[in-house]
């Protein structure tokens, strides 16, 4: 009987084989279908295996050690409830993305620059989730970054993409080094890099703090925590859209997996202040991320920034879980942790969906700039519908899935008064406010995203010849839309299937949900709070159709088409519509001053002068200017100074040698 884990490892192997195959036949016309078909099959197979495992014995652990990697540790792999959950996330994403790519991939101009790396990327993500020792973990982790970097560089003729790829890989290896240091601490001088050895070891408070900080640097930079997020909005949009979906929807989750694995699993009992740190960073990330997204007019960059926001939301829940866990409040911790994982799942759904939509728009119009889009709802009705579903879900509106997880997060926040520490008491509600603010801003942001892109009148001619995308892409998007709805109206099942994870990592679980009447979810007690997405959905449908029925039964059916009311001006040009920038203006007025140091100045011409008045707007990316520019400046300065050493005369080089010799001799002479 071959063990589950061995079965699972065949998946990445198959992916890699596909990658090699793609490397050889990548230039053939048939390669696209071949590769994506294979990826699809493998992902589904993996899903089935994991599903079987979960159905059979969700809590069971199965490990394997291959004679690869670090000689005396070997490459260890392990399947437990946590990795099972993330395997589901990864391979669901892989499945739908491959499905989408079956259609989308055909528009790729240089498929041989995408095909080999796509399966490799999937393999990397699967391996990260399965790895059970520091070396294999980091190897898979960096392999994942490398493959995605190659995908970002797929359209390498574009200067911006090259820059994006550069910043991405540098940040990635920065993160890897941070993780490396963290593992070095966990492994100790003896250097036993196996995870179970780390689990057994109890690091001191100082070491634990250092590990947490390093994990926030390492996993955080991959997940896109502020201020380490700078690469994300550059790199994610630069890749082909289905890869953007993978990077934004799935890879960030793998980063979160790394954080959870180390902080909740390997590190042992947390200190209460670790919760504070994570909470604050999470809240900050959520608000800043969504504000950036609101200011964007490039559709894919907007989505990337909103990824940052969602990562922030997840980290807020994780911070809560840490705080509760540290204060021995397992049930509350389980609630917060469940909220985090649930949101991870949801975000992987709707963010992939939205990126697919953006990709569809990109193929149909060749545009990512919203200012040149508009009115696509007429040209691409199906795409616009599924995209709308994505927008509603990500805006945390009932009855869709985004709301369910955020609702759980709020419920977890409401548990905070029982926390003993003052710091937490004061911070948690503030963070709750930030979370609510982020949610509201997210709604605003996606009103803008959908409204400017799909509604209104066409802002440029590219829209005119736009047409609906192929069936594969539509199918993938439809699947995701359905998943968004299902997870929204039947959250109980998701929550229950998450219970093994919370049991292993927190030691407690949320009460069984699916047993409740009418399938409503009750975090603690029905008298406290409850939510029934299914009934809400049913009620809305019923009352809407009821209203429609009554109207069409009794009211007039008369309908006349006419020009829109232009306040007396006969049809204003489409340019007169609100643009993405102008839509964001009120919010920029409110938040921009501190978030972006945004300043609007109006240049009024002199009375009688003919030139128009101009509104000048200058905004700053604060994180970039505070952290990245100084560093690059410092490096530049140092290189400039040191570079002179390349241009000395032989005599001066000899002088260097001579001085070095004399110094060493002096040291020796003064040696005790």
């Amino acid at each position: 009987m071959i063990s589950t884990i061995a079965l699972l490892l065949c998946g990445p192997a198959a992916f890699l084989a596909t990658a090699i195959l793609a490397g050889t036949v990548g230039r053939r016309a048939s390669a696209t279908r071949l590769v994506y078909g294979a990826a699809l099959a493998i992902s589904i197979a993996l899903l089935v295996i994991v599903a079987g495992h979960l159905a059979g014995s969700p809590g069971a652990v199965s490990t394997i050690t291959l004679p690869l990697g670090l000689p005396w540790t070997g490459a260890r792999f392990r399947l437990d409830s946590l990795s099972a959950f993330f395997l589901v996330v990864v391979n669901l994403g892989g499945t739908v993305t491959s499905l989408y790519a079956l259609g989308y991939g055909r528009h790729e101009l240089q498929p041989h620059r995408v095909l080999p790396f796509y399966p490799a990327f999937l393999a990397g993500m699967n391996l990260v989730v399965l790895a059970d020792d520091a070396f294999s973990f980091l190897l898979s982790w960096e392999f994942m970054s490398l493959a995605s970097w190659a995908l970002v560089m797929a359209h390498h003729r574009d200067e911006a993409n090259r820059r994006a790829g550069y910043i991405y890989l540098v940040m990635a290896s920065f993160g890897t080094l941070a993780l490396l240091l963290a593992f070095g601490l966990l492994a100790g001088p003896a250097g036993n890099y196996a995870f179970d050895a780390m689990r057994a070891a109890e690091p001191g408070p100082l070491a634990a703090g250092a590990v947490l900080a390093l994990m926030l640097l390492g996993a955080g930079s991959k997940a896109g925590l502020v201020p380490l997020h700078a690469w994300l909005p550059l790199a994610h949009p630069a890749a082909p859209s289905h890869v953007s979906a993978l990077m934004s929807g799935i890879m960030t989750k793998v980063a979160i997996y790394g954080f959870i694995r180390v902080v909740f699993d390997l590190l042992g009992a947390p200190a209460w202040w670790s919760g504070v740190v994570v909470l604050l960073i999470g809240g900050l990330t959520a608000v800043l991320g969504i504000l950036h997204a609101l200011m964007e007019k490039d559709l894919k960059r907007l989505l990337a920034y909103s990824t940052i926001e969602n990562i922030g939301v997840v980290f807020v829940s994780l911070g809560l879980a840490l705080a509760f866990k540290a204060n021995a409040m397992p049930s509350a911790a389980a609630l917060a942790f469940t909220a985090a994982l649930f949101h991870v799942l949801n975000h992987s759904f709707f963010k992939s969906l939205l990126f697919f939509g953006a990709g569809a728009v990109l193929t149909a119009t060749g545009e990512r700039d919203m200012e040149r889009l508009g009115g696509l709802i007429h040209r691409m009705p199906l795409t616009s519908f599924v995209f709308l579903v994505g927008c509603v879900s990500i805006s945390a509106l009932p009855p869709f899935n985004g709301f369910a997880s955020e609702w759980l997060a709020f419920q977890a926040i409401l548990q905070s008064p029982d926390l003993p520490q003052w710091g937490l008491k004061v911070i948690v509600p503030a963070v709750g406010g930030m979370l609510a603010l982020a949610a509201a801003l997210a709604a605003a942001c996606f009103v803008k995203a959908f409204g400017i892109t799909f509604l209104g009148r066409a802002r440029s001619t590219v829209v005119e010849e736009a047409h609906e995308v192929d069936r594969w892409s539509l199918a993938a998007m439809a699947v995701l839309a359905v998943l968004c709805l299902l997870a929204g109206i039947l959250p109980g099942f998701v929550i229950d299937s998450l219970s093994p994870v919370t049991l292993t990592l927190i030691g407690d679980r949320m009460p069984v949900q699916t047993a409740d009447p009418w399938l409503s979810i009750v975090p603690i007690a029905e008298s406290r709070s409850s939510y029934n997405g299914l009934l809400v959905f049913v009620f809305i449908t019923i009352s809407a159709s009821l209203a429609a029925f009554v109207i069409h039964r009794f009211a007039s059916h008369a309908l006349r088409r006419g020009p829109a009311w232009g306040c007396g001006f006969a049809d204003a040009a489409p340019a007169a519509q609100y643009t993405a920038v102008s839509f964001a203006q009120p919010i920029r007025r409110v938040f921009g001053s501190f978030a972006f140091r945004a300043r609007e100045t109006v240049e009024m011409p002199a009375p009688g002068a003919l030139e128009p008045a101009r509104l000048k707007l200058d905004m700053h990316d604060v994180a970039w200017e505070t952290f990245y520019q100084p560093i690059s400046g410092a490096i530049d300065y140092a290189t400039e100074r040191l570079n002179h050493l390349q241009f000395l005369t032989i005599r001066r080089y000899l002088t260097l040698v001579f001085l070095y010799l004399v110094i060493l001799l002096l040291v020796l002479a003064l040696w005790p």
Partner: protein
Amino acid sequence: MAVIFELAVQGAQMLLVLLLAPLLIGFVRKVKARLVRRQGPSLIQPYRDLIRLMRKEVVLADNASWLFRVTPYLIFAATWVAAALVPTFAAGLQFSWTADLIVIVALLGSARFFQALAGMDVGTSFGGIGASREVMIASLAEPAMLLIVFSLALVAGATQLSTVAAFMSSSEVGLRVSLGMSLIALVMVAIAENARIPVDNPATHLELTMVHEAMILEYSGRHLAMIELATFLKLLLYVSLISCVFLPWGLASVGAGPEALAFGAAAYLGKLAVLAVLLAVFETAVAKMRVFRVPDFLGAALMLALLGTLLLFVSRSL
């Protein structure tokens, strides 16, 4: 048998809110007119308007999409469900646990979401201006609302409205500063959410000042009727929310008999009347503020709510 009765009560409440909403509006308008010594329209004028709108034909802008036509029903449905879930005359109804206060707020949020989208659908600048301002207001109002929910939940230990109401009507509440703060905050949020003076003027069609009206400028006929009705329901929702949380007296408890329900209904009507009068007086007293003063207004609400919550945390820990 009991279930049937429960369902009946639930249905009754749904119908009640649907029927009362226009009346409340009519009442407010009447009082406002009286305050400025006008005769004012009759109390049932809103019903007449709705029926008239129903009869009229719909004039649809050329490039209005399917979304534009579906939205009114969605808005109406979402608002109606939300309004039906707020205890009016009786707490703990059959479906009251379907949604707690957070869900109700979120339902209103989705109604607003679609309304803003519909505003942008036709592609005139009014729709855009309305939508952008609406989301700006919402982005401040919703956090404030949620913080209010927090402080209520902290007092009552629940976000379930029935529980909150029951707790508030019980004796151990007493007077709390933080509750006062959240009340004020809630009122401010309600004003903003319902596009009342001073945040927005429901009566004007002057482009520069209007927010809500700008979004629905393109609507006509039965669509407009739906949206109007939804607006009425929203006002009713907030009024009954305030009443059931802050003046929960007379609220029929779970599984109460018919006479208790009747008393509750009477009490509810009384509260509505009082609050409507207060609203009218307030609206007549103050003037509309510039759009970019609204953030300060709502920011104040937000701060109040946060302060209330923090105070609660502190008092809890003492």
